[in-house]
């Protein structure tokens, strides 16, 4: 049974905010289908095996909330593709 097709790849790409080149879509559909078929075998794992999502056992390490001055502020702004007067410029967000 097919899991993903070109339509669903286009939909997921949209969720990821990625535009795809036309020639990429069928290749992605094929390769992702291949991966998803392969990972099907994980369904054999019984539901009572607790998922591991924290390796070190560290939880919420708190520190004092102290402001530390960052020395390289100008460079942060200068890394932006477009900026003006210390602000980052982006295309207009609101219509009016």
């Amino acid at each position: 049974m097919q899991i993903v097709d070109e339509t669903s790849i286009k939909h997921i790409a949209k969720l990821s905010k990625i535009a795809l080149k036309n020639e990429e879509i069928p290749v992605l559909a094929k390769q992702i289908e291949q991966i998803l078929e392969y990972v099907e075998q994980l369904n054999e794992i019984p539901d009572n095996i607790a998922p591991l999502d924290n390796l070190t056992g560290n939880f919420n390490k708190f520190r004092e909330d102290v402001v530390v001055d960052f020395k390289n502020k100008e460079k942060i702004i200068s890394n932006a593709p477009k900026s003006k007067d210390g602000f980052i410029l982006v295309p207009k967000v609101l219509n009016n």
Binding site: A13, S16, L36, Y38, N58, K61
Partner: protein, 470 residues
């Protein structure tokens, strides 16, 4: 100057004995880089001017007879996906083309504080997405032993920079094998520390629950010196862990070694297996006890790794949207189009594939089936690996089931086959334990490596053991 036989201690002593200056050393390394970089494609940016300025300071220190720090004047390279104040930090990607970081990664900062000098940034698959550097937006890094083969990946440039003697040691990053596999393909040593042992602050994140920073070098002594400097707690990375164990290994104690049956069955190149078996026989003759184990969850490892790493990468890479840094698609007037087109042109095909796979695995209705199951597989793998490590001191495996890939568009390797070849290295990554590649020989003039797997925080033990094996 013979760059081939250099190591940190030798250079340090040569400085003290005034056999050559730090400026001489840096110039020699840059001559070597000029000579070979266009053939091998190791570096994505170079730091010659700063390096020579720093060398001058070291030379003045030496002339005045001041005490030298451990790494004073020692030249090193850093993987492109780790932030450094000097050079660009582009993560091998178009989307970060020209990006200059505003701070040093903690590991780099610690090395610089000991006097090490940054030579340049090394090529890698973009964002660490690959095992051959063919997914780098800056071209493939060639194997030091054959221009027709890859150096491996994703830290392929790092491994080649060391193997071709263009620096004394390298800093790489390993998510599922990205230090160990290229170290194996290039015939050098490479350590993936336990998860949390070295701060990830300043690593451009791929899969945050798997990413580690570690050293690559031509010899174990350098690996050890560098690792001891870069490891430790860092308040800037809340996942760093404290070392509570002090381990001493005595040279002549008989030690137990485990091997994993599932690793030696299917898919392993028989010539690699022969070399590995010969090594095991040698260790047995030298008094090590070798015991065979089963790791039944081996069959889930690649599936678990790719689902978890891609899920995490789909979240981590969402920040590359053309707003704050790097590339922005030109001539766009709408915000949405800026996101879409920036990513379309800025990400490699492989990066897009991994983001899309990860987004799918985390999306509503599928997260339980894919992401959660992958995490359950990770539980099993960690438990089974830890159970084996309770009975033996180390586990030995080949580092890769295959030899370095041939660079040949006609014999293009199926992407799934390339993923499956990560099998031996993703298992320690999923379990968060440390593992080290050591070179064990050659097959058809191409290097072969062996992986020593230890437990969490067992770096010292693993490094001592590697030195005993010689």
């Amino acid at each position: 100057m013979n760059l081939k036989d250099l190591n940190i201690k030798k250079i340090h002593n040569s400085f003290l004995n005034k056999e050559y200056s730090c400026t001489d050393l840096i110039n020699n390394y840059f001559e070597k880089i000029n000579e070979i970089n266009s053939d091998y494609n190791i570096y994505t940016s170079l730091n010659k001017e700063n390096a020579l300025n720093q060398a001058k300071i070291i030379d003045e220190k030496i002339a005045k007879g001041e005490v030298l720090r451990k790494l004073d004047g020692i030249p090193f390279s850093v993987k492109d996906s780790i932030c450094t104040l000097e050079c660009k930090s582009q993560a091998g990607s178009n989307i970060l083309k020209g990006f200059e970081a505003t701070y040093n990664a903690t590991a780099v900062e610690k090395l610089i504080n000991e006097g090490a000098i940054l030579i340049g940034k090394t090529n890698c698959d973009s964002f660490g997405h690959g095992s051959s550097t063919k997914n780098s937006d800056y071209g493939i890094t060639k194997n030091p032993y054959s221009l027709d083969h890859v150096a491996g990946g994703s830290s392929g440039g790092a491994a080649a920079s060391v193997a071709l003697n263009t620096c004394t040691f390298a800093i790489g990053e390993d998510t599922g094998g990205s230090i160990r596999e290229p170290a194996s393909f290039c015939g050098i040593y490479g350590l993936k520390p336990s998860y949390g042992r070295v701060s990830r602050y300043g690593a451009i994140a791929y899969g945050s629950s798997l990413d580690t920073i570690g050293p690559l070098a031509n010899n174990m002594l350098d690996i050890e010196i560098v690792q001891k400097i870069i490891e430790g707690l860092d308040e800037k990375d809340a996942t760093t862990i404290e070392d509570k164990k002090i381990i001493e290994l005595e040279n002549k104690t008989v030690k137990k070694i485990g091997i994993i049956k599932e690793f030696l069955d299917n898919g392993l190149d028989l010539r690699i297996r022969d070399l590995f078996d010969k090594k095991l026989e040698e260790y047995e003759t030298n008094g090590f006890e070798i015991q065979e184990f089963h790791l039944p969850s081996t069959k889930y490892a690649v599936a678990s790794y790719y689902l978890i790493a891609c899920s995490e990468t789909s979240s981590n890479l969402s920040r590359f949207d053309g707003v704050k840094f790097g590339f922005r698609a030109p001539n766009v007037t709408k915000l949405e189009d800026m996101y879409l087109q920036t990513k379309e042109y800025g990400f490699s095909f492989e990066t897009k594939k991994r983001i899309i796979l990860g987004t799918y695995a985390l999306s509503a209705g599928y997260a339980d089936k894919y992401y959660k199951k992958a995490c359950s597989a990770r539980s099993l793998i960690k438990q089974e690996l830890e159970d084996i490590l309770k009975e033996v001191d180390f586990i030995l495996t080949p580092t890769s089931p295959v030899l370095p890939y041939e660079i040949n568009p006609i014999k293009e390797i199926d992407p799934m086959t390339e993923y499956l070849a990560d099998i031996y290295t993703v298992i320690p990554s999923l379990a968060g334990v440390c593992s080290l590649n050591v070179p064990i020989g050659f097959v058809e003039k191409l290097p072969v490596g062996m992986q020593i797997i230890g437990g969490v925080l067992d770096e010292n033990k693993v490094m001592e053991f590697a030195k005993i094996l010689g």
